[in-house]
Symmetry: C2
Subunit: 256 residues, 2 copies
């Protein structure tokens, strides 16, 4: 039923991955090493080894050293590869801090499908093979992200189209959500402003590409009411001001 991978749960994948990691440096893997490696009590390791042995993924008998079977090593390597791929995407492309990236990757590695994994690997190859793209990401997005790290600070406007005014070649096309007349819709192009403001809007679902409709424009005292993905949301005018939209479906009046 909810048996994802023939009985191999995320936790078991972690054990396999740990065994592979240990065998990379030590010549043998013992229960103790695995427990330390996964920050788990040795008492938790034994039953996991039993299950892995039943599934023919390790060779194990009471008190013996632990070895991976071919099948187990395959799963271990695949899991490790997923982990590395995700962690590299987070650090190298998105610029997530490495401790955090490890943690995210550790949790997500069990849920990335084969086909997405294959594509993510291709993505890295593509970036590496395409110097133009690499340059764009590094000089453009990369230096913009540095700005994200210094809380609330703004990054080099010349380079970063995201925070604050930015280079935005199509700045002219964009208007603030606050200016959207009632009944009209727009697609979110980007969120201006400091980190905290951005984050709280993103948390509410204000993400590039998503359509917003204005239900009731706000004032200084009255929050705007908008629809996002069909959900009604109240946001203060100050928040609406920093959401930049590309207008679609201009049925109502036209504003500046």
């Amino acid at each position: 039923m909810s048996d994802p991978k023939n009985g191999v749960t995320g936790s078991l994948e972690d054990y396999l991955e740990a065994i592979l990691r240990i065998l990379g440096t030590s010549s043998v893997a013992r229960v103790r090493d695995i427990a330390d490696n996964l920050q788990v009590s040795p008492a938790s390791v034994t039953p996991a080894m039993k299950r892995l042995a039943e599934l023919d993924l390790i060779r194990y008998s009471k008190r013996s050293y632990i070895e991976l079977t071919e099948k187990g090593a395959g799963i271990a390597r695949r899991t490790a590869a997923r982990h590395r791929l995700l962690s590299r995407f987070l650090t190298e492309i998105l610029g997530t801090e490495s401790t955090q990236a490890e943690e995210d990757a550790c949790a997500m590695e069990h849920h990335l499908s084969d086909s997405s994994m294959e594509r993510l690997a291709a993505f890295f190859e593509f970036i590496a093979a395409c110097p133009e793209l690499g340059r764009l990401l590094e000089s453009g997005f990369g230096s913009c992200l540095e700005g994200l790290d210094q809380l609330g600070s703004r990054c080099s406007k010349a380079v970063c189209p995201i925070i604050d005014t930015g280079c935005g070649e199509e700045q002219g096309d964009l208007s603030s959500l606050a200016e959207l007349p009632p009944g009209c819709s727009g697609t979110i192009a980007r969120i201006k402003g400091g980190r905290a403001d951005r984050r709280s809007l993103i948390d509410m679902g204000f993400i590039q590409g998503v359509e917003v409709t204005m239900d009731r424009p706000g004032s200084d005292e009255l929050p705007c009411i908008v629809r996002l993905d069909g959900y009604r949301l109240d946001i203060p005018l100050s928040a609406a001001l920093i959401v930049l939209l590309r207008r679609v479906d201009v049925t109502g009046g036209g504003s500046a």
Copy 2:
């Protein structure tokens, strides 16, 4: 201890998200709707509602309609935003098939940290704001990925640097892993060949940017032994032939 988000587990996030989703179309959320929405038995919903109510994330009493509190709606929206972000990354950037992307996103949404999420949102804004990048991804990576879908087929060589010969402007710099002399290392640049071959190499950890060292070159009958991340691996010569490397640390002899 291992309490990630103040008692709100991944499963509870799913329930909150489902409630938000239901309230987007229906005017009320009932146990039945939630059960249907999450493909879960109604008997599983009741205890979940109790826990959510205890945590002050929904308003609920026996047999009542279910409403989100402000706090609960916040978590629900954040989870939905993560979901959308991941699912869009998978479909729009990586080109994963949408059913699969949904599934992956559903599982990963509980594990993406705030900071990675923030950066992923910025990534979308950056791509949208940078027409050059958008074009590159779409015409280059995008059309290359189409090739991935037709099993084993090759995509337009003019445009795709990944599969087969590709445009590879720096083709000259690259040499096959099979040609790497013993003791020498290289960094993986890309994997040539059909989909199945690529996938099995990726599964073993052959991913762009990773360093490989040759332990023992192979022959038609004898597999190569290489080291990847410190792990020893045997691969058939035919597989080594399609791994393209950028050489580093040329201590040994020089090959063509």
